[in-house]
């Protein structure tokens, strides 16, 4: 009896020890994150003002703002979304609903999973060769957006496939049994029921894209830019212009990098402020993703 008690005490010691280690590990992560954020906020928060959002970068730190950077980020993201969403969703649907399961599709599957892990600068190189030199899109918003689209494409494909797989097969059978074609089944069931998961995946992908710097630098985004791209709408015929696609640009992380690399302390503060904005954008997008997931989960439970 004594023996058993001793052994239990011994086992419990290890049990308790891991609890402590686990807790400490969690705290290290959390504390570091909070210190980082607190530091960013104390440095950057005083610089956040309306003017900061509406000013171009400048030689004078107090007058410099992030106008060209956030406009550039938004436009690049728009191109990314327009390219990655249709391609990724269509590929995901094809692989899940149409493609027969064989060696080739297995190979494609493994490749897509691996593509998600390719370093982003490699995508930058690919985009430089393909979009800048081959298609001659120039060092433009279009090139930047497409480079990021390549980057998040595997994520979108995988998110699409995951959420399609969550749809029970009985629903597909019910649809086919009524004489529906594959496309009707996809259009009326597979797509609508997987929308929540697909959107979540897309937004998570986009929120990764917005913080990417390497591929954007590789394709030749400018680090200092004091003008906006051509507006997409104008008062003259034909009112809509796509010229902005071919304009040079910068994005938030590049603007930050530019400021951080300057010796003056004031520019460091600007970088911190821009960091807060960038983090806010990412958090907002993740928040939207969580909300969408929650909403769709509530609507459809199998």
């Amino acid at each position: 009896m004594e023996d058993i008690k001793k052994r239990i005490a011994h086992i419990k010691f290890w049990n308790g020890l891991f609890q402590v280690v686990g807790l400490l590990s969690t705290f290290v992560g959390l504390v570091l994150l909070f210190t980082l954020m607190a530091d960013l906020f104390t440095d950057g928060a005083p610089r956040l003002s309306y003017k900061f959002f509406t000013s171009f970068p400048s030689r004078f730190a107090e007058e410099a703002g992030i106008l060209s950077a956030w406009v550039g980020s938004c436009l690049v993201l728009l191109v990314t979304a327009c390219a990655a969403i249709p391609l990724g969703v269509a590929a995901g649907i094809y692989l899940e609903e149409y493609a027969s399961k064989n060696r080739l599709t297995d190979l494609i599957e493994i490749n897509i999973a691996n593509l998600a892990g390719v370093p982003s600068i490699v995508y930058g190189l690919l985009a430089l060769g393909l979009f800048v030199y081959f298609f001659e899109f120039g060092e433009s918003i279009l090139t930047g957006g497409l480079a990021l689209a390549l980057l998040i494409l595997p994520m979108v494909i995988m998110a699409t496939r995951e959420s399609i797989r969550a749809i029970p097969n009985s629903i597909r059978e019910a649809s086919y049994a009524m004489g529906a074609t594959k496309w009707q089944t996809v259009k009326w069931h597979v797509l609508p029921y997987s929308t929540g998961g697909v959107l979540t995946g897309i937004i998570i992908g986009l929120s990764r894209a917005i913080g990417e710097t390497a591929p954007i630098i590789t394709v030749g985004a400018l680090t200092f830019i004091a003008f906006l791209p051509t507006p997409p709408v104008s008062s003259d015929f034909p009112f809509i212009s796509f010229k902005w696609l071919f304009d040079p640009f910068t994005v938030m992380p590049i603007q930050m990098f530019n400021w951080v690399s300057r010796p003056q302390k004031e520019f460091q503060l600007n970088a911190a402020a821009a960091g807060i904005v960038l983090m806010g954008m990412t958090l907002l997008m993740n928040g939207v993703a969580i909300y969408i997931r929650y909403k769709f989960r509530k609507k459809i439970k199998w």
Binding site: E173, Y176, M178, G179
Partner: protein, 259 residues
């Protein structure tokens, strides 16, 4: 083999073989399906009754490596519906199916019933409205749902959901209605409602039902076919099968000696 001499057939399987890849699941099956009668398929698990049922609307075509041989003729047109030249969609548009577990779409009650019409490209609201009401009445569900047609189908109880699935299957005027153990996921009260409904429905449509429940087969069907390891052992009038089966195997199964 058949002791039945009626000539009013809706369909007939002749020398049907079915393969899941290299597995020979149905062996040389021949079975008449009487018009506007209920034919029950019974037998122990894995005997191939569901596999056989799913041949009638070509559900096996959805998955790779499945192969049919032989014929299932649909009368009066005399078309072999498992022939590769016949589009499975054409078959499914004429032969509807109700599944083991209620599987309504996560849409409204109305949209669930209207689905078959939408698939066929029907746009006229008036036509769809009428057909939805008629089908829901046919499935004995109208009175319960007429005030909430635009609520989600998932809000219904299990038994109601299954009747909704029957309404969905009825909405396109099928020539044959297939039931694959339609009450196995339901409680006794819901089950008896579905059974009454099946007896009601045979006035309008030919029915084939797979059931693991022999009392159910006895209650609802006119003809019963006993299957065992991919073969039909015996086919006869239901009362005959359950009172005086001619095969020893059938007798052993229905008296509960195995299965």
């Amino acid at each position: 083999m058949s002791a039945v001499t009626s000539k009013d057939l809706k369909a007939e399987a002749k020398g049907l073989n079915f393969f899941y890849g290299s597995v020979h699941a149905l062996k040389n099956i021949s079975l008449p399906i009487e018009r506007r009668k209920v034919t029950a398929l019974i037998g122990p698990s894995g005997c191939g009754k569901t596999t056989f049922l799913r041949c009638f609307n070509r559900m096996h075509d959805l998955y790779p490596h499945n192969r049919y041989e032989g014929e299932i003729l649909l009368y009066p047109d005399n078309v072999n519906i498992i022939s590769p030249e016949i589009d499975p969609i054409e078959v499914r548009m004429q032969i509807s199916m109700v599944f083991q577990k209620p599987n309504p779409f996560p849409k409204t009650i109305y949209e669930n019933v209207a689905y078959g019409l939408r698939v066929r490209g029907t746009r006229k609201k008036q036509v769809i409205d009428e057909r939805v009401e008629k089908s829901l009445r046919g499935a004995a569900l109208w009175e319960e749902v007429k005030d909430r047609l635009h609520n989600l189908a998932f809000d219904l109880s299990g038994g109601q959901q299954q009747r909704l699935c029957i309404a969905r299957a009825l909405a396109t005027d099928p020539r044959i209605l297939l039931f694959d153990e339609p009450t196995s996921a339901l409680d006794p009260i819901a089950t008896s409602k579905i059974e009454e409904l099946i007896i009601e429905l045979k006035n309008e449509v030919t029915i084939i039902i797979v059931t693991h429940n022999m009392q159910q087969a006895a209650r609802v069907s006119d003809y019963t076919s006993f299957m065992y390891i991919g073969e039909i052992i015996e086919y006869d009038r239901t009362d005959k099968i359950f009172t005086a089966p001619s095969s020893k195997l059938t007798e052993d199964y229905i008296t509960g000696r195995f299965g």
